[in-house]
């Protein structure tokens, strides 16, 4: 377990477990640098580190938890005492318990780069400045709101009285740019980004070009007529859509009766060519991990298989309650929280045609390039889906005028059944889902 001091800290806590007590200690330490450049100068430079510990105690089916944003030994003792005190107030839950080793082999991922860890500060600033220059040069109508280089590292250790003992570390870097495009009185905005495990794979050209394109392509956009039509979701939008779908397949929501798919395992919920896979062992995924938030091996799970709802995501609690085993989908927001459940690296199995070929077959529709308010207008419990959108009209097999300030609406159930094609353009994005062009029929577009 490397030369890190973190495994020793969790071992020390777990060794203090009293008879009849289950105990879990999770510690993490991380840091980030963020460089923001504006008009050729550094606007801010942030150099930040944080560390902390969370301790979960279970006794007689009751759970207590406490955390602190420090690894100071006195504070760690206080956290353990607080967690023990908090146990008294929990309700007895027969399914409560920590994860137990399940024999599933860990797929090693290369999540750490020494090259990034040693990357000099001056080069970070240069990258942000270069990105700003490229975006300004991409189009005369473009100006910059901010250009950023960021990197982050983190290491974490978890140990339990049930035999879990894991340590890992990872780092990564990214550049982002926020753009503005002006034409007369009108201003539109865009953004671009590039992500990598090492700085040399950052594609500044692409981030700058996409930032400029996103801002300029909406200049002159109008509000469309309301219509019931076909939508083509751009890869980035599809990734957001898949994130919402995955929350309905969350095992915790299922066992607590909060999923609209709760009684539907084995049902056809999408056409037969739809395969929705969660696979954090795929090294192409930016969110690839070796172990989940409880320290179990991450693994590949088919959630929708040939259009059939085949599996929900579970952590050890939801699995025990559902009478099944953990799918390795425990999530953890950091030392200040206890494990939840969630998809880790989703993707749809791609089809065979490009977005352009797909659009060529559509007589009337809209290519949705961005959505807003997806979290305020989508209810994963009722299934209602309504989101603000912007993009390009599709007329007679070709993209036409830009449109904005409209919504697209349907229900999640109808949208899955209404999928008519998945594109070939699978694109891994810095989120828990990969993007791909997705065609859905019979969606309501509200505008004028």
């Amino acid at each position: 377990m490397s030369g890190s001091d973190l495994p020793g800290i969790v071992d020390h806590v777990v060794a203090q477990a009293q008879p009849g007590e289950q105990l879990e200690a999770f510690v993490s330490r991380g840091g980030e640098t963020e460089v923001r450049v504006y008009q050729g100068d550094v606007e801010h430079f942030v150099d930040a580190q944080a560390e902390g510990i969370g301790i979960r105690v279970l006794r007689d089916g009751r759970t207590g938890f406490a955390y602190a944003g420090t690894l100071d030994p006195a504070a760690v003792d206080e956290v353990l005492a607080d967690a023990r005190d908090n146990v008294r107030f929990g309700t007895v839950d027969d399914w409560a318990g920590l994860a137990e080793p399940d024999g599933v082999e860990v797929t090693d991922q290369s999540l750490w780069s020494d090259e990034l860890a040693d990357f000099p500060t001056d080069r970070k600033i240069e990258l942000a400045k270069e990105l700003e220059r490229l975006a300004v040069a991409a189009d005369t109508r473009v100006r910059i709101d901010d250009a950023n280089y960021s990197d982050a590292y983190g290491e974490a250790a978890v140990a339990t009285t049930t035999g879990i003992r894991q340590w890992g570390r990872e780092n990564g870097c990214y550049v982002t740019i926020s753009t503005l495009a002006d034409d007369g009185d009108e201003t539109q905005t865009g953004f671009g980004f590039s992500v990598g495990r090492t700085p040399d794979v950052l594609d500044l050209e692409r981030a700058a070009r996409e930032g400029a394109d996103r801002a300029t392509r909406l200049l002159g956009a109008t509000k469309p007529e309301s219509a019931r039509t076909t939508v083509v979701l751009d890869p980035l939008v599809t990734a957001q859509f898949l994130g919402i779908i995955s929350s309905t397949l969350n095992g915790e929501a299922v066992v607590k009766g909060r999923s609209l798919f709760k009684d539907r395992l084995g049902d056809e919920v999408a056409p037969p060519f739809v395969h929705l896979i969660d696979d954090p062992t795929n090294p192409l995924a930016y969110t690839a991990v070796d172990v989940d938030g409880e320290g179990l091996a991450a693994r590949r799970n088919a959630l929708i298989d040939g259009g059939v709802l085949s599996r929900f995501t579970h952590n050890s609690y939801s699995a025990r309650r559902a009478g099944t085993v953990s799918t390795g989908n425990a999530t953890r927001g950091g030392f200040a929280g206890t494990p939840g459940v969630g998809a880790l690296a989703l993707s749809l199995e791609p089809g065979s045609r490009s977005q352009q070929e797909i659009v060529g077959d559509i007589d009337h529709g809209v290519l949705v390039q961005s959505v807003t308010g997806i979290h305020s207008g989508v209810n994963p419990i009722s299934g209602d889906f309504s989101t603000g959108a912007a993009g390009l009209m599709i007329r007679k097999g070709a993209v036409a005028e830009p449109v904005r300030e409209f919504t697209i609406a349907s229900t999640l159930q109808r949208m899955l059944l209404g999928i008519v094609e998945v594109g070939a353009d699978l694109d891994w994005l810095p989120m828990r889902a990969a993007g791909v062009s997705l065609v859905i029929t019979d969606v309501t577009m509200s505008g004028e």
């Binding site: 100068d41 550094v42 606007e43 801010h44 430079f45 942030v46 150099d47 930040a48 580190q49 944080a50 207590g64 938890f65 406490a66 955390y67 602190a68 944003g69 420090t70 504070a75 206080e78 956290v79 967690a83 005190d85 908090n86 107030f89 929990g90 309700t91 839950d93 100006r143 709101d145 901010d146 503005l180 201003t187 539109q188 905005t189 607590k256 909060r258 609209l260 200040a336 206890t338 807003t372 308010g373 979290h375 305020s376 207008g377 419990i381 009722s382 209602d384 309504s386 989101t387 603000g388 904005r404 300030e405 919504t407 697209i408 609406a409 229900t411 309501t444 509200s446 505008g447 004028e448």
Partner: protein, 468 residues
């Protein structure tokens, strides 16, 4: 928390590379939370966060570093890191002399939540569960959360500011799921104040009847079981008092933040003195409202909060300012510099943002609307400040037909353009109320904000439903 002479020496270290400005923001925060779900107290959580953020400004560049080590050596290390981040030069030594001040009092706390036994907090959630479940057989699931926090802060800077504050917050939220023939529906309610446990005492001015709040969340979910799909397209929208302040937060609040203004990334840039809204609209951001969720004695840069009139009778009067942006504009800050924690840089943020009463009667507004939508609970939203385009969700809404509120509607988003909507407010009632506590997200940081408004009508907004 930290002695004045230690802070003075820390600031001197931070200024050593010739910086113009240095600041220490230290916090010591303790919180307790309780979560209930599925009829069980899932867990009680105790948390502690402690540390200091050090900001150094030289020219146009800000350097920032933070540390969870509040010893003099820990602070000095963070000060050197922040100074190095801001510049690579050497400006020699500069002493700092602090002038301790006492901030004005905006909130009075009678019962510190930390003195209330945990079991009392647990029992309150169990009461919420009972109240929500007894609202109807349709209620199938209830989850509720309670949280309190006490954050002690110390803010000092090289201009002599040295001020401390003690911020107490109490929050509760309730989510209810109801099940019917047409599937499940949800209801939500929440409360939050910057005072202590006395908020649950009926004798208090800001008293919250937690059982009534739970029953209301259940009522919302049950009513929606019979809801029809929301309409699609543009129509008049009436927004109930105390439920739609988020409209102003999104439609114009963010666009009036001076950082967006100075970068030319707001539709309101260069519009001071111009008519930007219906003459009915007076918009205020006020960090001093006793006990409200966005209230603070001093902002997170040590400036006293104040009441700022942003739009008066439809005319844009001023923007909101933090230290950096006001310095650049050569004016005083407005008490709007805020940050999520010691780990974050401050920026321009709202506090409590609201629209004052107008001349109309709420019932009359509905009665004079032939066909439209009545929104009685708005959800979250977001805005693009450069274009003014915004969206927000309708958690509870009804159809208005022939001047009467009729059938409930399923959820959907509303979409509009900020400057257009401000001009399109054609009726404003005299029944002002504050709304639910909010968390405003900007640049990855969340801060507590309040909002409020009287019942009002927007003559045209686009409803993002599925019905014709």
């Amino acid at each position: 928390m930290i002695d004045q002479d230690v802070i003075e020496r820390t600031l001197s270290v931070a200024l050593r590379t010739g910086a113009d400005f240095a600041e220490v923001y230290a916090e010591d925060k303790r919180n307790t939370s309780v979560s209930l779900d599925d009829g069980r107290i899932e867990q009680v959580t105790s948390g502690r966060d402690r540390g200091a953020g050090i900001r150094v400004i030289k020219g146009e560049t800000t350097g920032f570093a933070h540390s969870s080590d509040l010893s003099e050596s820990g602070l000095a290390e963070a000060a050197r890191a922040a100074a190095a981040a801001a510049s690579r030069g050497d400006g020699g030594a500069r002493a700092v002399s602090l002038q301790p001040t006492t901030a004005h009092t905006v909130n009075t706390v009678d019962v510190l939540p930390e003195t209330v036994p945990k079991v009392t907090k647990v029992e309150m959630l169990q009461r919420i569960d009972d109240a929500a479940r007894s609202a109807g057989d349709e209620v199938v699931q209830v989850s509720a959360g309670y949280g309190d926090s006490r954050k002690r802060v110390l803010i000092a800077n090289s201009e002599g500011v040295f001020v401390t504050d003690d911020i107490v917050r109490v929050l509760a939220r309730i989510s209810v799921v109801a099940d019917g023939d047409a599937g499940m529906q949800t209801g939500f309610q929440s409360m939050g104040h910057t005072i202590g446990w006395e908020v649950f005492d009926p004798a208090n001015d800001l008293y919250v009847d937690i059982d009534a709040l739970a029953r209301d969340a259940a009522r919302q979910a049950i009513v929606k079981l019979g809801a029809r799909p929301a309409p699609s397209g543009a129509m008049p929208v009436v927004i109930k008092n105390g439920t739609g302040g988020v409209l102003f937060h999104e439609a114009c609040g963010h666009g009036l933040e001076a950082d967006h203004i100075q970068k030319g990334a707001s539709v309101y840039a260069g519009k001071t003195g111009e008519l930007v809204a219906s003459p009915l609209v007076t918009l205020v951001d006020d960090g001093t409202m006793a006990g409200e969720w966005g209230t603070l004695a001093v902002d997170d840069e040590g400036h006293e909060t104040q009441r700022n009139v942003l739009i008066e009778d439809g005319v844009l009067t001023d923007y909101m300012w933090d230290h950096i942006r006001s310095r650049k504009a050569g004016r005083d800050p407005s008490g709007n510099g805020r940050r999520q924690s010691f780990m974050h840089l401050p920026m321009v943020r709202m506090t409590n943002t609201f629209v004052l009463d107008g001349p109309d009667d709420a019932d009359e507004i509905v009665a004079s609307t032939d066909h439209g939508v009545y929104v009685s609970h708005l959800g979250g939203g977001s805005v693009n400040t450069a274009t003014g385009d915004f969206v927000f969700g309708m958690n509870e809404a009804y159809l208005i037909e022939n001047g009467e509120i009729t059938e409930p509607l399923r959820e959907g988003n509303l979409i509009g353009n900020g400057p257009q909507v401000l001009r399109d407010i054609d009726m404003l009632a005299d029944d002002f109320a504050m709304g639910n506590p909010g968390t405003c997200g900007k640049d990855g940081q969340g801060v507590p904000v309040g909002d409020g408004q009287p019942t009002l009508r927007v003559k045209s907004l686009t409803i993002g439903g599925t019905a014709a």
